[in-house]
C-alpha cells in the first residue's frame, strides 16, 4: 500500500513526470482490451492497485476462472503483476 500511496502522491505533485515515467513491462498492452466502462470486457479505470493485483494473481493461480487472463498472467512474475496494477491505478486521471 505504501508504494501505491507513493505513486499516487507523485502523480498529484508532478502529473507530467509521473505520466512520462515508463510503464512496467507488459502494462501498456492492457488498454488494448480494457477501455471505457460498459463493455463486455471489464474496465480497469478507477480500480485500485490492490484489487487489480488480487485479480491478476487469482487468474495466474487458476483460483479465478477466465477465458484468457489465465493464459496471459502466467507470463509474468508476482512482482511484475503488482507493478502493472500500481501503474494502472496511477493512470486513472491520465487520458
Amino acid at each position: 500500500m505504501r508504494i501505491v500511496l507513493l505513486v499516487t502522491t507523485l502523480a498529484l505533485i508532478s502529473g507530467p513526470v509521473a505520466a512520462q515515467s515508463p510503464a512496467p513491462p507488459g502494462a501498456l498492452t492492457c488498454s488494448g482490451c480494457h477501455g471505457a466502462a460498459g463493455s463486455e470486457l471489464p474496465s480497469l479505470r478507477g480500480k485500485d492497485a490492490a484489487t487489480i493485483t488480487q485479480a491478476l494473481l487469482a487468474f495466474r493461480s487458476g483460483a479465478r476462472e477466465a477465458t484468457l487472463m489465465n493464459r496471459i498472467t502466467k507470463g509474468f512474475s508476482e512482482d511484475e503483476l503488482a507493478a502493472i496494477a500500481v501503474w494502472i491505478e496511477a493512470q486513472k486521471d491520465v487520458k
Binding site: 507530467p16 488494448g32 463486455e40 470486457l41 507470463g75
Partner: protein
C-alpha cells in the same frame, strides 16, 4: 484544477521546451518524430508520442482507415464495410499533425522524408508502420489485374466488398476456392476464420455450394480448434487441403478462375487468392527491409537493424514469435512510443514484455482465441514458456459464445483507443 488540465498546461510547456531548456537534451530544435502509416500501429504510435509531449507528424495518404479485423464478417454478409471504417478526426482534434500524402521516399542519412508533392520533412526518429503489400510477382498468374477477378481481400476495403459481392452473386451449388500462403503473412489465423465464415454463409444461404481451402502449409494457428469446429459445423461445406495433400497453389488463371496445385486444377465460381506478402513499399524504399521483404528490428527498441533512427512496428517487422496482428501492432506501437520518447530524452529503455491476444470467429456466435507473452531473445521476440496458448478444445458452447462476445468487445475498445 484536474490532473488532466495540469497535464495539458504542462504538456503545453513541454511543447516549448527548447525555450526552457528541459526536458529535451537535443541541441537543435524540439525533436521531431515522423510516423508513416496510419493503421493500428502508426495511428496508435502517433497518439502516444503526442501524449508524451513529443512533436509528431503522421503521414497517411488515406482520409479513412479500413480495418482488417472483423472484415471477414463483411465477407460473411453480416456486417457493413462502413463499420470497419475510421477517420483521423479525433487524432487531428487532439492536435496531431496529419499529412494526407504518400511518403514517396526516405533518405535515412539525411533523415528526410519526401512526399508525393515533392515537399520534404526531416525527422530525429522515424517510425515505419506501413503494413503489408501483396507480392504480385510471387504466384504465377496473380497480379494486380487478376486480383480484380480473384480478390485477395487481404487489405480491407474495395477488395473485401468485391469478394462479398461475388459470393452473393454466385448461384447455389457453386464452388468457392481459397488459396492460403506459406508463413509469414498478415494475421496467421485470418484465412481460417474467413474459411469458417464463408462456410457458414454457404451452409445457411447456399447449402448446395462448397468451399475448398488450399493451403501451402500443414500447420496453422489454432488448428485443432478450427478443425474441431469444422468437423462439427461444416462437414459438407468446407474441405481443407493441406500442403501434404497437394494444397500448395502453383499457378492461377484469372480469366476462368482456375487455381492450379501440384496435383489438381480447380475451376471456381468464386476464388479468393491470398498471395505471399512483404513489408509495405515505403519500408523497402527506406532500406529497412532485408531480402526476405520484411524488416529486421532490435526488440529492445524496435529500431531497424539496417537503418539507424528508423523504427519499424506492426506487420512489416520481423517480430519472431509475435504474430502479425492488429493487437500486436497496437501493443508494439504504445511501447515504441514510450521507447522513442525515452531515447530522445537520452534514457535507456528497460527490457520490455509484450502480449498478443487474437480472437477468431468460426461462426458468428462461436469464438476462439490464442494469446502469447513475449520477451526479447535471439534478436527477436520469443515466447515466454508456460504462458499463452489457445482456448481449450471440447469446451462447452457458452465458452465459445463468451469468446465471440469478447471478440466483439475487443474490436470496439481497440478501435476507440486508436481512432476514437
Amino acid at each position: 484544477m484536474s490532473l488532466t488540465d495540469r497535464r495539458q498546461i504542462l504538456g503545453g510547456l513541454a511543447a516549448t521546451a527548447t525555450v526552457l531548456g528541459a526536458p529535451y537534451v537535443s541541441a537543435q530544435a524540439q525533436p521531431h518524430v515522423i510516423v508513416i502509416g496510419g493503421g493500428f500501429g502508426g495511428a496508435t504510435c502517433a497518439r502516444f508520442l503526442h501524449r508524451a509531449g513529443i512533436k509528431v507528424t503522421l503521414i497517411e495518404e488515406n482520409a479513412t482507415y479500413t480495418s482488417c479485423p472483423f472484415s471477414n464478417l463483411v465477407i460473411h454478409g453480416s456486417r457493413e464495410i462502413s463499420a470497419q471504417q475510421f477517420s483521423y478526426d479525433a487524432l487531428k482534434s487532439e492536435g496531431i499533425t496529419i499529412v494526407a500524402q504518400r511518403a514517396q521516399s526516405v533518405d535515412g542519412d539525411a533523415r528526410r522524408v519526401t512526399l508525393n508533392d515533392g515537399t520534404t520533412l526531416t525527422y530525429d526518429r522515424l517510425i515505419l508502420s506501413p503494413g503489408i503489400d501483396m507480392r504480385f510477382d510471387a504466384l504465377p498468374g496473380y497480379d494486380a489485374a487478376s486480383a480484380e477477378l480473384m480478390p485477395h481481400a487481404w487489405k480491407a476495403g474495395a477488395q473485401t466488398v468485391l469478394l462479398r459481392r461475388q459470393l452473393e452473386a454466385m448461384e447455389d451449388g457453386g464452388l468457392v476456392v481459397m488459396s492460403v500462403p506459406a508463413n509469414p503473412y498478415r494475421c496467421p489465423p485470418g484465412p481460417y476464420e474467413r474459411a469458417s465464415l464463408i462456410a457458414h454463409y454457404l451452409k445457411t444461404k447456399k447449402p448446395k455450394s462448397k468451399l475448398i481451402v488450399l493451403d501451402a502449409k500443414d500447420q496453422f494457428s489454432k488448428q485443432k480448434l478450427f478443425q474441431e469446429a469444422w468437423a462439427n459445423l461444416y462437414p459438407d461445406h468446407l474441405e481443407y487441403v493441406p500442403l501434404a495433400a497437394g494444397g500448395k497453389t502453383t499457378e492461377v488463371i484469372a480469366s476462368d478462375k482456375t487455381v492450379v496445385t501440384e496435383f489438381s486444377r480447380y475451376t471456381a465460381a468464386v476464388a479468393n487468392i491470398i498471395p505471399p506478402q512483404q513489408a509495405g513499399k515505403i519500408a523497402q524504399l527506406a532500406g529497412a527491409a532485408d531480402r526476405t521483404g520484411w524488416c529486421p528490428i532490435d526488440p529492445m527498441t524496435f529500431e531497424s537493424k539496417l537503418r539507424p533512427n528508423m523504427h519499424v512496428i506492426g506487420d512489416a517487422a520481423i517480430m519472431g514469435a509475435m504474430p502479425k496482428s492488429a493487437f500486436a501492432a497496437n501493443a508494439q506501437a504504445k511501447l515504441c512510443a514510450q521507447t522513442v520518447a525515452q531515447l530522445l530524452r537520452g534514457e535507456t529503455p528497460a527490457e520490455p514484455k509484450l502480449v498478443n491476444t487474437c480472437y477468431s470467429l468460426v461462426a458468428p456466435d462461436y469464438g476462439i482465441s490464442v494469446a502469447g507473452v513475449y520477451r526479447p531473445g535471439n534478436g527477436v521476440f520469443v515466447d515466454i514458456e508456460g504462458a499463452g496458448g489457445t482456448s481449450p478444445l471440447t469446451a462447452p458452447q457458452d465458452v465459445r459464445t463468451r469468446e465471440a462476445a469478447y471478440s466483439n468487445a475487443w474490436f470496439g475498445i481497440i478501435t476507440a483507443e486508436v481512432f476514437g
